[in-house]
C-alpha cells in the first residue's frame, strides 16, 4: 500500500535524524570527558541518553502525526479534484480513495475532516461507491451534525431513485444518521418508503421507524408510524417486512409501556390472537431469523384453552426439525411455555424435545454447544429423570474446550441416579486425571455432589478415597472438602474415611478450604484418630504463618473438641491455641477465642454443650438459588439469563431494565420495568447473599462465622461484661437481625439441626426467633397504620404493576393456629383487626393466595400504601410474602408488623 510505504520512509528518515543527533551528542560527550574525571562522566552520560531517547520519541510521534495529517490532506485534495470530474475511469480511482478512507476509519483514525469532500464526491451511479459513502456518512454524521445537513440532499434524492436497491439503501442511511435536528427531513421519505411498492424498501422503512423512535420518540408517534406498521404487520405480502414491523413494534411498545398505560394495553392488544394467528399461518414464509422472532412473540401468548395450545403446537411441531439451532430452541420455548400449566403434557413435551436438543449439542461450533448446554442444564434441573438414560451424550471429548467440559460435567452430575451412577462416577474419575486442573477439580466436585445426592454411596466413597491416593495437591484438597461434607451427611462412613484421611500428610494440604476441612475432621473424629493431637499441635505451632482466618477459626473449634475428648493430651495445645487466638489481629478469631475461653471458665460441660453438642446428620444441603429465581430464569428461556443463570434484571443495566422483558404476569412486569432505582436487585442480592451465607455457615466453611454455635461469637462483644451463662441478649440481637432481613426460617433451619440440643438445654428456645412475637405499634416499631385506608382495586392493580418488590419474606408457622386455616375468611378478619386490609383472596386448602394493603397513618391520600401478596400453604405451614411499598424505607418495619400479625392469628 502506498500510504504504508510513505509511512515507513518517514520512519527511516526520523531514524536517520536520531542517529545524526546521537552522533553529535557523542562528540560533545567526548569533548567533555577530556576535561572531567571519569567518575563524573557517568552521570551526565546517562542523563544525556535519557534526553536523547525522549527527544527522538517526541520527534517521531510528531512526525507520525504530521505524516498522517499529510496523508489526509493528500486524500482531501485528491477527492476534491475528482469531485466534479466525469472522466472515464474516475470511478475506479474514487473507489480506491474511498477504500482507503474506510480502512482508516476501521482502525480508528479520525477521518471526519474529509466529510465535505466525501459528500461532494458522492454523486455517483456506482453502487459500491455509494455504499461506502453511506457507511462513512453514517459513522460521522453524529460528530458533524451541521455537515450532515449536506448529505440530506443527495440522500433524499436517492430515496426517489428508480432502482429500489438505491431507494432502500438511501433510506437506511438517512435513518441511520442519528442526528436529532434532521428528523424533519426523515419523516417524508419514511412515509413514502412504507408505501413503496418494493418489498426491500418497505423492509428498510419498517426498521427506519424504529430508528426514528430511538432518535425522537415523539416524532415517531406523532406521525402515527406505529399504526402504519400495525397495518403492514397483518397485510404486507413480504414476510421480511412483517418481521421487521414485528421487531420495531415490539421494541417501541415495550419502551412506551414503561411510561404510559395506553401503550401497555396497546401492546397486549397487538399481540393478541388475530396477530398471533396471522403470524403462525405464515411461519414458513419467514426467514429462519424472522421465525425466531415470531416464535418468541408466540411464546408470550396465553392461549384461551388447552385446545388452542395443541393447535399451536401442531402448527409448530415441524420447526423442531429445522436445521437452524436458534429456531429449534425458540420452538422449544413455545412448547414449554404453552404447556406449563398442564403437567402431563409438559412431560410429553420434554420427551419430544429431547432428541433435537441432544443433536444440537453435538453439532455446530463449541460456542453453540455451550449455549445449548446451558439451556439443557436448566431443563435437566427441572426434569432430571428425563435425560438419565442419555447420560453418555454428556461424556466429554478430549478436544472439547473447558467451558463445554465444565457444563457437561454439571450435566452428568444432574442426571446421575441409582441406575447410571456407577458409570458416571467411573467416567468422572477419568476426568479427575485430566491435565486441566480446573476440569479435574470440577470432576471431583461432581463425584462429591453425586455422593451427597444419592443413598447408595458405597462405591463412590471408595472412589473419593482413591483420589486421595493420587497424591496431587489440588486433587487432595478438593477431595478433603468433599469427604468432610460427606461425613456430615453420612456419619456412618466415618470409619472408612478417617482411616484414609489420617494418612494424608498435612504438609501437602495448602488450600484454606481443604485445610479447614482436614482440621474439622481431625477435631470431629479425634477419638478415632490416634495422632490427631499431634497433627493439630503442628497446626497450632504454625499459627503465625497461617494466613487464612477461616483456618484459624476452624483450628480453635477443632482443638476445643479435641480437648473435650482427650483432655490430658490436648490441654497444652488448647492453651496455646486460645492464647494465640486471643492475641490474633483478626476480629472474629479473637472473639471466638475469647468466647471459648470464657465458656470454658464456666465449666467444661457447659462449654461442650455449646461447642460440641451431639450432631444430627445433615439431610439436605441448602440450595443456593431460590426456586423463585429459577422459575424466573425459566421464563426467560432462550436468552442470556440461562447462560448466566441469573434472571435478566440482575445483569442488565438499570437504564436497559424494563425495556426488554415482557410478560403477562403483573408482578414480573413490575419487576423489570421498575423505573431506575436499584432497590430491587440490591435487595434481592442481599437476600441471596444471606441465604448463601447461612447455607455456607452450615457447611462450616463460611468466612468468619463458621463452626458450631457460629452466630454467637460475633455478638459476644456486645455483652462481654454480662455473664455468659445467660446468653440471651446477644442471641436476641441475632434473632432480630435475622427476622429483619426476612430469613428467619433459614436461620432456624440451620440452627435447629445443630444446636437444638444445646439450645433446649439452655432454655433459650424462644430467643432464637422460633416464636417471635411483636405487637403492632409496640415500642420497637414507630410505624403506625391507618385504620381506614381507601384504595380501589384499579389503583391497587396499577400500583402493583409499577412498584418494585420492597421485601420478600418466607414465614413458617409450623404448629401455629394458622396451619389449620380452612378458608380465607378468618384470616381476613384477623388481619383487619391489625389494620391490614384485604383486596382479594382466593384458593382452598392447602393453598391460599391473598392480596392485602395497608396505609401509613397520616400520609396524604393516595400515598404511603403497602401492598402485599401473600401465598399460604397450610400443608407445609409456610407463607411466602411479597411486599411493595410507596415508601420503601419503612417496608421492613411493615414486614415486621405483617409477620407478627400472621403469627398472632388464632382460629378462636
Amino acid at each position: 500500500m502506498e500510504s504504508h510505504n510513505q509511512l515507513t520512509s518517514y520512519l527511516q528518515h526520523s531514524f536517520e535524524c536520531c542517529l545524526l543527533v546521537s552522533f553529535c551528542f557523542c562528540v560533545l560527550l567526548l569533548f567533555i570527558s577530556l576535561r572531567r574525571s571519569a567518575l563524573l562522566l557517568s552521570f551526565p552520560l546517562s542523563i544525556c541518553f535519557l534526553d536523547l531517547l525522549t527527544h527522538s520519541a517526541c520527534v517521531r510521534s510528531i512526525m507520525n502525526a504530521d505524516n498522517r495529517k499529510g496523508e489526509l490532506a493528500d486524500l482531501k485534495t485528491q477527492l476534491r479534484q475528482l469531485a466534479g470530474s466525469r472522466a472515464a475511469g474516475v470511478e475506479d480511482v474514487k473507489r480506491e480513495l474511498y477504500k482507503k478512507v474506510i480502512s482508516y476509519m476501521t482502525i480508528g483514525i479520525d477521518v471526519s475532516g474529509l466529510f465535505s469532500e466525501m459528500v461532494m464526491c458522492s454523486a455517483t451511479s456506482d453502487l459500491v461507491l455509494k455504499k461506502m459513502c453511506y457507511l462513512y456518512v453514517g459513522s460521522y454524521a453524529k460528530v458533524h451534525p451541521d455537515l450532515a445537513l449536506l448529505t440530506i440532499n443527495f440522500l433524499q434524492k436517492d430515496c426517489r431513485d428508480d432502482d429500489p436497491m438505491i431507494r432502500g439503501l438511501a433510506l437506511r442511511s438517512l435513518c441511520s444518521l442519528r442526528v436529532k435536528n434532521l428528523v424533519e427531513y426523515l419523516v417524508g421519505p419514511l412515509r413514502t418508503g412504507l408505501k413503496d411498492n418494493n418489498g426491500y424498501v418497505r423492509t428498510v422503512a419498517a426498521m427506519g421507524v424504529l430508528k426514528l423512535y430511538h432518535i425522537a420518540p415523539s416524532a415517531c408517534t406523532d406521525n402515527d408510524f406505529p399504526a402504519t406498521l400495525k397495518g403492514l404487520l397483518i397485510h404486507d405480502p413480504d414476510a421480511q417486512v412483517v418481521a421487521n414491523c414485528l421487531s420495531a413494534l415490539q421494541e417501541i411498545y415495550t419502551l412506551e409501556a414503561a411510561s404510559s398505560e395506553a401503550a401497555l394495553k396497546e401492546r397486549e392488544l397487538l399481540f393478541g390472537r388475530p396477530v398471533i394467528y396471522a403470524l403462525l399461518n405464515r411461519i414458513k414464509e419467514f426467514t429462519e431469523w424472522a421465525q425466531c422472532l415470531v416464535l418468541d412473540v408466540v411464546s408470550k401468548y396465553v392461549p384461551a384453552d388447552p385446545n388452542e395450545s395443541f393447535d399451536i403446537m401442531n402448527v409448530l411441531e415441524d420447526r423442531l426439525q429445522h436445521a437452524n439451532s436458534a429456531v429449534v430452541l425458540a420452538t422449544i420455548k413455545v412448547f414449554l411455555q404453552l404447556t406449563i400449566s398442564m403437567a402431563d403434557v409438559h412431560q410429553q413435551v420434554y420427551e419430544r424435545i429431547k432428541a433435537p436438543l441432544l443433536t444440537l449439542i453435538s453439532s455446530g461450533s463449541s460456542e453453540q454447544s455451550y449455549a445449548v448446554l446451558s439451556h439443557l442444564h436448566l431443563l435437566v434441573m427441572r426434569a432430571p429423570m428425563l435425560f438419565s438414560s442419555d447420560y453418555k451424550h454428556f461424556y466429554c471429548r478430549y478436544s472439547d474446550p473447558s467451558y463445554v467440559k465444565k457444563l457437561k460435567i454439571e450435566m452428568l452430575t444432574a442426571v446421575a441416579n441409582e441406575s447410571n451412577m456407577y458409570e458416571i462416577v467411573t467416567e468422572l474419575s477419568e476426568y479427575a486425571a485430566n491435565v486441566d486442573v480446573a476440569i479435574t477439580r470440577e470432576a471431583i466436585r461432581a463425584v462429591g455432589r453425586i455422593a451427597l445426592q444419592l443413598y447408595d454411596v458405597n462405591a463412590i466413597v471408595d472412589r473419593l478415597l482413591q483420589f486421595l491416593e493420587m497424591e496431587k495437591d489440588y486433587v487432595t484438597a478438593e477431595t478433603l472438602v468433599l469427604v468432610k461434607d460427606l461425613l456430615r451427611k453420612y456419619p456412618q462412613w466415618s470409619h472408612d474415611c478417617i482411616a484414609v484421611v489420617g494418612n494424608v500428610s498435612s504438609n501437602t494440604v495448602q488450600e484454606p478450604k481443604a485445610k479447614s476441612a482436614l482440621i474439622w475432621m481431625l477435631g470431629e473424629y479425634s477419638h478415632d484418630m490416634l495422632d490427631a493431637p499431634y497433627v493439630l499441635e503442628g497446626f497450632v505451632e504454625g499459627w503465625a504463618e497461617e494466613d487464612s482466618a477461616e483456618v484459624r477459626l476452624e483450628l480453635l473449634s477443632a482443638v476445643s473438641k479435641l480437648f473435650f475428648k482427650r483432655p490430658p493430651e490436648s490441654q497444652k495445645i488448647l492453651g496455646a491455641a486460645l492464647a494465640a487466638g486471643i492475641a490474633d489481629a483478626h476480629q472474629d478469631v479473637h472473639d471466638r477465642a475469647l468466647f471459648y475461653y470464657r465458656l470454658l471458665q464456666q465449666g467444661v460441660e457447659v462449654a461442650e454443650c455449646v461447642i460440641n453438642p451431639p450432631k444430627q446428620a445433615v439431610s439436605v444441603f441448602a440450595d443456593t438459588q431460590s426456586s423463585e429465581i429459577k422459575d424466573r430464569i425459566f421464563d426467560e428461556f432462550n436468552s442470556l439469563s440461562v447462560v448466566y443463570r441469573e434472571p435478566s434484571f440482575m445483569f442488565l443495566d438499570k437504564e436497559h431494565r424494563g425495556a426488554y422483558d415482557y410478560s403477562e404476569d403483573p408482578a414480573a412486569v413490575s419487576l423489570v420495568s421498575a423505573p431506575a432505582d436499584l432497590v430491587l436487585p440490591s435487595q434481592s442480592l442481599e437476600a441471596n447473599d444471606n441465604d448463601l451465607l447461612l447455607s455456607a455457615s452450615e457447611k462450616e466453611e463460611s468466612r468468619g462465622t463458621a463452626s458450631n454455635g457460629s452466630y454467637v461469637p460475633d455478638f459476644l462483644t456486645y455483652e462481654s461484661s454480662s455473664a455468659p451463662r445467660s446468653p440471651s441478649p446477644p442471641l436476641q440481637v441475632v434473632a432480630n437481625r435475622n427476622s429483619s432481613i426476612g430469613s428467619a426460617p433459614v436461620a432456624r433451619a440451620t440452627t435447629a439441626g445443630r444446636t437444638s440440643q444445646a439450645v433446649s438445654a439452655l432454655g433459650i428456645d424462644d430467643l432464637l426467633g422460633l416464636n417471635l412475637t411483636f405487637s403492632p405499634g409496640g415500642p420497637s416499631l414507630s410505624l403506625k397504620l391507618n385504620s381506614k385506608p381507601a384504595l380501589d382495586p384499579a389503583t391497587f392493580q396499577r400500583k402493583w404493576g409499577q412498584l418494585p418488590i420492597a421485601l420478600t419474606m418466607d414465614h413458617s408457622f409450623f404448629g401455629q393456629p394458622l396451619a389449620a386455616l380452612s378458608g380465607p375468611q378468618p384470616l381476613l378478619r384477623h388481619m383487619q383487626e391489625n389494620l391490614i386490609h384485604c383486596m382479594a383472596s382466593g384458593g382452598q386448602v392447602p393453598q391460599f393466595k391473598f392480596f392485602f394493603f395497608a396505609q401509613k397513618v397520616e400520609s396524604p391520600p393516595g400515598t404511603g400504601f403497602f401492598l402485599v401478596e401473600c401465598l399460604l400453604n397450610t400443608s407445609t405451614a409456610s407463607a411466602n410474602v411479597k411486599i411493595k411499598a410507596d415508601d420503601t424505607s419503612v417496608a421492613s418495619k411493615f414486614g415486621d408488623i405483617f409477620r407478627s400479625a400472621l403469627t398472632s392469628f388464632s382460629l378462636a
Binding site: K99, T106, S125, D126, V128, K131, L135, D162, M165, I166, R172, N197, G199, Y200, T203, M207, K211, H214, D238, A239, Q240, E285, T287, W289, C292, D296, Q321, H322, A323, S325, V328, A330, P356, L358, T359, S362, G364, S365, S366, Q368, Y370, A371, V372, H375, K392, H393, Y395, R397, Y398, P401, S402, Y403, E427, M470, E471, S639, L640, V643, F651, L652
Partner: protein, 439 residues
C-alpha cells in the same frame, strides 16, 4: 428478542480491529477496548464464550485467526447470536471462495461492510441466504441486475418470489446443459473407548450434502433406508441394504427447503433444492453402529526412563474397501527424548511439539491388522513419581464408500415440468469425528 446486536467486531489475534460495525447507539464506541482489556489480555480468553462487562454482554468466537465479537446490551438470545455469526461466516466464505481468515477479511473489507449492512439492520438479522444476497450484492459492485431497465417496474426477484409464494432460496429461470445432482453422505464417527475396550460412548453424526446443477424448478424426492421411512412404505421387500437392516435415526434436521409437513405425514424427504451446494439434512444415530476400526493399545512404563508402546489397529470394514489418510496419535510424556519404531505399514514419528507419536498409514486395507511398536526413552527428571495422566489415543481416517451407520440412499427422484433427464451421483464417506481410545 432474538439478537438485537449493538455492534459486531472482527479482531485479529493481536486485537487489531479488522472490521467494526456499530448497529446501535446504546453501547459506547470503546467496546473493543473493553473486550481487549478484559478478555483478550487475560487468562479468561477462551474460558467462556459469553462474558459480561459493565452491563454489556460479549459473545465471541474464534474462527481461524479472527475473533468475531458480538456486543449486546439486552437479554439477547445467545444461541441465535452464535448461529448468526456461524451463518455469516459461511456467507462470507461463499463470497470469497473458501478461506475465512485475517487476509481474506483485509482483502474484502468493503464487501464485508456491504454484507454486514444487508444481513443485519439495527441489530436484527435480515436475510442471510447467499442465494438471494448474490442477486444484489455482486463482487464486481455493478448496479443490481433488476435495475438495468429502470422503466420496468418489475419488483426485485426477492419480492417476486415472496409474492408468488414460491421458494426464497432458488432463482427462477436457471438453465443447465447437463442436469446433474451430486449427493454425498458424510458421516463422522465419535467414539470413546475405555482401557478395557468397552464402548463408553459411540455415535454417528451424518450430513447429506448436495450439489445441484438442475434447470428450472425441480422437485426432488430422496429415499433412505431409515426405519421410519421404510415402515411407511408398503413394499418393504425392496430394501437394498445388504444386511437387510433398517437404520433408526435418533434425530433429523433438514435444510429449510425440505417440506417438513410432508416429511411428518408421508415420511419422505421432498424438496425444491437451492442452486449449487448445500446441506440437505443432518442426522444423529446412536444404535447399531459399525465401527470402522478397533484399537488395541498397550503401554508399559519400564522404570523411570523407558516406555514400551504397542498399538494394534484392526480394520473392520469390508475387505474390498480401504481407508485413506489414517493417522494414529499416541500421546507420550513431555520428557520424551526419542522413540524407536517398528511398524508393519506406514510411517511413525515422534512429534515433540504435540507430545505424540504419530503413525500415518496412507492406505489401510479392509479386514487387516497393522501394528506399531515403539520403544520410548524418557529423560529422567527430579520430580519424584509425578504420575503422568495419559490422554487418549486419537485416530483420524476417511473410509470412502462406507457408512458407519449403514445408511444407504434407496432412490433420488428428480421431477421437473420440462421432464429432462438427470444424472445422479451418490457417494458415501465415513470420517473420524473424535475417535478416542483411552490407554
Amino acid at each position: 428478542m432474538p439478537v438485537s446486536a449493538s455492534a459486531i467486531y472482527f479482531l485479529n489475534l493481536r486485537g487489531d480491529v479488522l472490521i467494526n460495525r456499530l448497529y446501535r447507539d446504546d453501547v459506547g464506541g470503546n467496546m473493543v477496548d473493553a473486550f481487549r482489556i478484559h478478555i483478550m489480555q487475560t487468562k479468561d480468553l477462551g474460558t467462556c464464550p459469553v462474558r459480561q462487562i459493565g452491563g454489556c454482554s460479549f459473545l465471541y468466537m474464534r474462527i481461524s485467526n479472527v475473533y468475531i465479537v458480538t456486543v449486546v446490551s439486552t437479554n439477547a438470545n445467545a444461541a441465535c447470536a452464535f448461529k448468526f455469526i456461524v451463518e455469516a461466516v459461511a456467507l462470507f466464505k461463499a463470497y470469497f471462495g473458501g478461506a475465512f481468515d485475517e487476509d481474506a477479511i483485509r482483502n474484502n473489507f468493503v464487501l464485508i461492510y456491504e454484507l454486514l449492512d444487508e444481513i443485519m439492520d439495527f441489530g436484527y438479522p435480515q436475510n442471510l441466504s447467499p442465494e438471494i444476497l448474490k442477486l444484489y450484492i455482486t463482487q464486481e459492485g455493478v448496479r443490481s441486475p433488476f435495475s438495468t431497465k429502470p422503466q420496468d417496474t418489475r419488483p426485485p426477484a426477492n419480492a417476486t418470489l415472496q409474492v408468488t409464494g414460491a421458494v426464497g432460496w432458488r432463482r427462477e429461470g436457471l438453465l443447465y446443459k447437463k442436469n446433474e445432482v451430486f449427493l454425498d453422505i458424510v458421516e463422522s464417527v465419535n467414539l470413546l473407548m475405555s482401557q478395557k475396550g468397552t464402548n463408553l460412548r459411540c455415535d454417528v453424526t451424518g450430513k447429506v450434502l448436495m450439489k445441484c446443477f438442475l434447470s428450472g424448478m425441480p422437485d426432488l424426492k430422496l429415499g433412505l433406508n431409515d426405519k421410519i421411512g421404510l415402515e411407511k412404505e408398503a413394499q418393504v421387500k425392496a430394501r437394498p441394504s445388504k444386511s437387510g437392516k433398517t437404520i433408526e435415526l435418533d434425530d433429523v434436521t433438514f435444510h429449510q427447503c425440505v417440506n417438513l409437513t410432508r416429511f411428518n405425514s408421508e415420511k419422505t424427504v421432498s424438496f425444491v433444492p437451492p442452486d449449487g451446494e448445500f446441506e440437505l439434512m443432518k442426522y444423529r444415530i446412536t444404535e447399531g453402529i459399525n465401527l470402522p476400526f478397533r484399537v488395541f493399545p498397550s503401554i508399559k512404563e519400564l522404570g523411570r526412563t523407558r516406555m514400551e508402546v504397542n498399538v494394534k489397529v484392526k480394520s473392520l470394514f469390508g475387505a474390498k474397501m480401504f481407508a485413506l489418510g489414517v493417522v494414529v496419535k499416541v500421546p507420550v510424556p513431555k520428557q520424551t527424548a526419542k522413540a524407536d519404531f517398528q511398524v508393519t505399514s506406514g510411517r511413525a514419528k515422534y512429534h515433540p511439539s504435540v507430545d505424540c507419536l504419530i503413525w500415518k498409514i496412507r492406505k489401510f486395507p479392509g479386514q487387516a491388522e497393522l501394528t506399531m511398536s515403539a520403544e520410548v526413552e524418557l529423560i529422567s527428571t527430579m520430580a519424584e513419581k509425578k504420575s503422568w495422566t495419559r490422554p487418549p489415543i486419537q485416530m483420524e481416517f476417511q473410509v470412502p464408500m462406507f457408512t458407519a451407520s449403514g445408511l444407504r440412499v434407496r432412490f433420488l427422484k428428480v421431477w421437473e415440468k420440462s421432464g429432462y433427464n438427470t444424472v445422479e451421483w451418490v457417494r458415501y464417506i465415513t470420517r473420524a469425528g473424535s475417535y478416542e481410545v483411552r490407554c
